[in-house]
């Protein structure tokens, strides 16, 4: 039998046990909680939602003299066929979901016959059933838009398409006086949507890279020798610089902050000799040219962000290819989406002609729209007017910013295991601040917008938003299966918990024994 403990020993043991518990509860538990809690800085989600609603409501930018922004259209009953104005509006917004139009164009469709107490809409949409073929889909006369519905059966798609053709073609875009009736100018296959794949995304700066690519095969060739001469190299550079200067002092300069360029000379080793080129020349098709491009290991256009500024740089590459020989007098040229353009020399190299072709390719890559007129001719392809483009580009950047911020908001809300550092909140705050500055500029005179202030703020807002959503410290904590947590915590805490609990239990038991 063990000797009984002295009173002093019992008191000491009690103090030791309680001390250990005090350390465990007041130091250990808070430390454990702090180190295992995922740090999530509050992000102003409601402010982001407010901006989203603000954009959907048109940013308060409605102007009578600028129909390209927010327009009220009264829809007559004969257009409805049981369809609601909301359905037509949603369908139209789907059609307009392109870079250049949905940013600036929103419709408020009201039932023209039941619009009591509301302000008169500017335009009226009228529908007429017709079985005539071919159907003239839409006729716009002043403020009245008439859509012909086949066989008196309307659908939201037909009505929305009619509105789309009318508004976007006739009322919205830049040189509207140069346009006649539009024959599916905005169709997804030939119009605006096709430019999405060409890389018409706005960037604040543009870099042009011109490469003289000389084909070398086993036969050598006079063309290659001539191209390698210093005189030809100098001529190449001079012409490339001329393109750059023309762009720098031309219209393009009005909506980008800088245009830079470089020139290079490269060599294409054709291991199959002239046969390889012969196969391309015999069958000039997109597939063959695509295969040829693969051998050049082309880099896609990507927006470069330099460390010195937050602006994006769009790189366009242009290649003047001198094949080993050519049986064609004319050169062949093609454009590659999200990359640039290529001119393949004919039987005699013509650098000035090549540069003109590069100019057309630049226009194709950067211009937002391409029109085919109903009379078969083509509209003059020009860059948009400065103030119009600046407004559109500003709103496009704001739309990009809010889409990115909304994505951030959704991710932060749905992924609770994701850490949110304070830098993310700071970037979101900066984006929102730039947003407000851009909207202030948009609401002011055209002159201010023409100076691209609004555009700069909007581009900065988009950039800050991207930096926030791609912050390298905003990572998701790894998923740990429940059984793994048991396997870690049990051996870690068990040897600590067992004596603590045993000691505390003994203290409690002894305290109870003392009580009478």
């Amino acid at each position: 039998m063990l000797p009984s403990e002295s009173t002093e020993a019992i008191v000491l043991r009690r103090k030791v046990v309680l001390s250990f518990w005090a350390v465990f509860v007041f130091l250990g538990l808070p430390l454990w909680f702090h180190t295992t809690t995922i740090h999530r800085t509050p992000v102003p989600l409601s402010a982001i939602e407010t901006l989203d609603n603000e954009l959907k409501d048109g940013l308060g930018l409605s102007r009578d003299d600028d129909p390209g922004l927010h327009i009220a259209v009264g829809v007559k009953k004969n257009c409805l066929y049981g369809i609601t104005t909301r359905e037509i509006s949603d369908e139209l917004q789907r059609l307009l979901r392109t870079e250049w139009t949905s940013s600036v164009f929103s419709l408020d469709l009201v039932d023209a016959d039941e619009c009591s107490g509301c302000s008169m809409p500017k335009y009226t949409l009228n529908c007429i059933g017709s079985d005539r073929t071919p159907l003239p889909k839409t006729i716009s006369e002043g403020l009245e838009i008439t859509v012909y519905i086949p066989s008196n059966h309307g659908s939201k798609e037909i009505i929305a398409n009619g509105l789309y053709d009318a508004f976007v073609g006739d009322f919205l875009f830049f040189n509207k006086h140069d346009l006649g009736s539009i024959d599916r100018a905005m169709s997804p296959t030939t119009g605006i949507l096709s430019t999405m794949y060409r890389g018409a995304t706005y960037a604040d700066a543009i870099h042009l890279s011109f490469t003289l690519l000389i084909a070398l095969d086993s036969s050598g060739g006079e063309r290659a020798i001539e191209a390698l001469s210093p005189e030809f190299q100098t001529e190449w550079r001079v012409h490339a610089e001329k393109v750059w200067n023309t762009l720098k002092f031309g219209e393009l300069n009005r909506y980008v902050s800088s245009i830079t360029f470089d020139t290079d000379v490269g060599f294409q080793y054709m291991t199959d000799g002239s046969d390889e080129w012969a196969r391309v020349e015999q069958d000039v098709s997109s597939d063959k040219l695509s295969s040829l491009l693969d051998t050049w290991d082309l880099q896609p256009i990507t927006l470069l962000t330099t460390s010195s500024n937050s602006s994006a740089v769009k790189v366009l590459q242009f290649v003047y290819f001198l094949p080993p020989y050519s049986t064609n007098t004319k050169s062949l040229s093609f454009t590659v989406a999200n990359w640039g353009g290529v001119v393949m020399a004919g039987d005699s190299p013509d650098l000035p002609a090549a540069m003109r072709t590069f100019g057309r390719q630049i226009d194709k890559l950067l211009s937002p729209v391409s029109f085919s007129l109903a009379n078969g001719s083509k509209s003059r392809k020009t860059l948009p007017h400065r103030h119009e483009f600046a407004r559109i580009a500003t709103i496009m950047n704001l739309r990009g910013a809010i889409e990115t911020l909304s994505a951030l908001s959704r991710l932060v809300t749905s992924l609770q295991e994701m850490a949110v550092p304070s830098t993310v909140r700071d970037l979101v705050d900066s984006a929102i601040k730039e947003w407000h500055s851009a909207v202030v500029n948009l609401r002011s005179d055209f002159d201010q917008v023409a100076e691209n202030q609004g555009l700069r703020h909007a581009a900065a807002a988009a950039q800050f938003a991207r930096q926030a959503v791609f912050d390298k410290d905003m990572m998701l904590n790894m998923f740990v299966p429940f059984e793994h947590k048991i396997a870690v915590y049990l051996p870690l805490l068990g040897p600590v918990i067992v004596p603590l609990v045993a000691g505390l239990r003994r203290v409690v038991v002894e305290s109870r024994k003392k009580e009478p």
């Binding site: 695509s290 693969d294 999200n338 540069m355 390298k472 998701l476 790894m478 947590k485 048991i486 239990r505």
Partner: protein, 341 residues
Amino acid sequence: MNELLRILLLALAACLVLSSKGVKGHEEPAFDNETLQRFLSDQLEARGGATGKHANNWAVLVSTSRFWFNYRHLANALSMYRTVKRLGIPDSQIILMLADDVACNPRNAFPGTVYNNADRALDLYSNNIEVDYRGYEVTVDTFLRVLTDKVDRRTTPRSKRLLTDENSNIFIYLTGHGGNEFLKFQDAEEVSAFDIADAFAQMWETKRYHEILFMIDTCQANTMYSKFYSPNILAVGSSELDESSYSHHADSDVGVAVIDRFTYYNLEFLEKVDKGSELMMKDLFDSYDPVKIHSHAGVRTDLYNRNLSEVPITDFFGNVQAVEIDEDDDEEGINMEETVH
């Protein structure tokens, strides 16, 4: 003894309580199939739908194993690398992650080479390969950062980043050792199906892909795509839950297995594919034979809204160059004759 038992039970209960902290984050998604379909439909509509039009192709090829006896996993990844390069995806659009400890391994009887077949007809480790992440750089953190592009832009070169956008089709291939909803990385850590699913969700929200083909060759591979919930993902795995994936054959001189079955039969099919091929993804999936593969390959299509018989193989394994031949038009364009000021 009873007292000790009571204390142990208390300790276990305390551990259970403490370890349950934060476990809610990865519960099963609380929506049924119908709700999921509606959610996907809303997502697709908001993004204009997957029309099959993409503008560029990328590939992320990862061998998650290291050590000599996992030779076949490296060969798997290099085989896929060679295939996608042959079909047109340039190195600048391929992220290749390997332990890369095999070619120059002292045990390699053929130093500087990697073969995927006992006939040693093709050296996968020949010149012109670009390994972006090698050795101990191949970690779960690196992999997830590559997918979500949450990298340090000051120190990460562009060649090691996945510079995709909403027009990019991405082929993601993983091979190594796996289990029920996890995949081992270099025998040191694991990535779970939840982590990859959440990474794809981030990619979708930040518009980093148009469509993804997710292919995985590990044991119980099909469990790895069971937690995906983002749209436009086509997933294929080599084996079901509680099923192993097997190697195809070994090289007696190399001394180890050189290729896995699932990858072997994929490659056998893809050898018939060239850039102009009209073969469809359905043809590939129909070619999977459980008798040959020795496991049941699975395909998940509920997140993918296109008909597989109308999806060309080259939509994922090849590259797209959107070439437009210029029309002969001298009237339009920027006037190059303007005087330089």
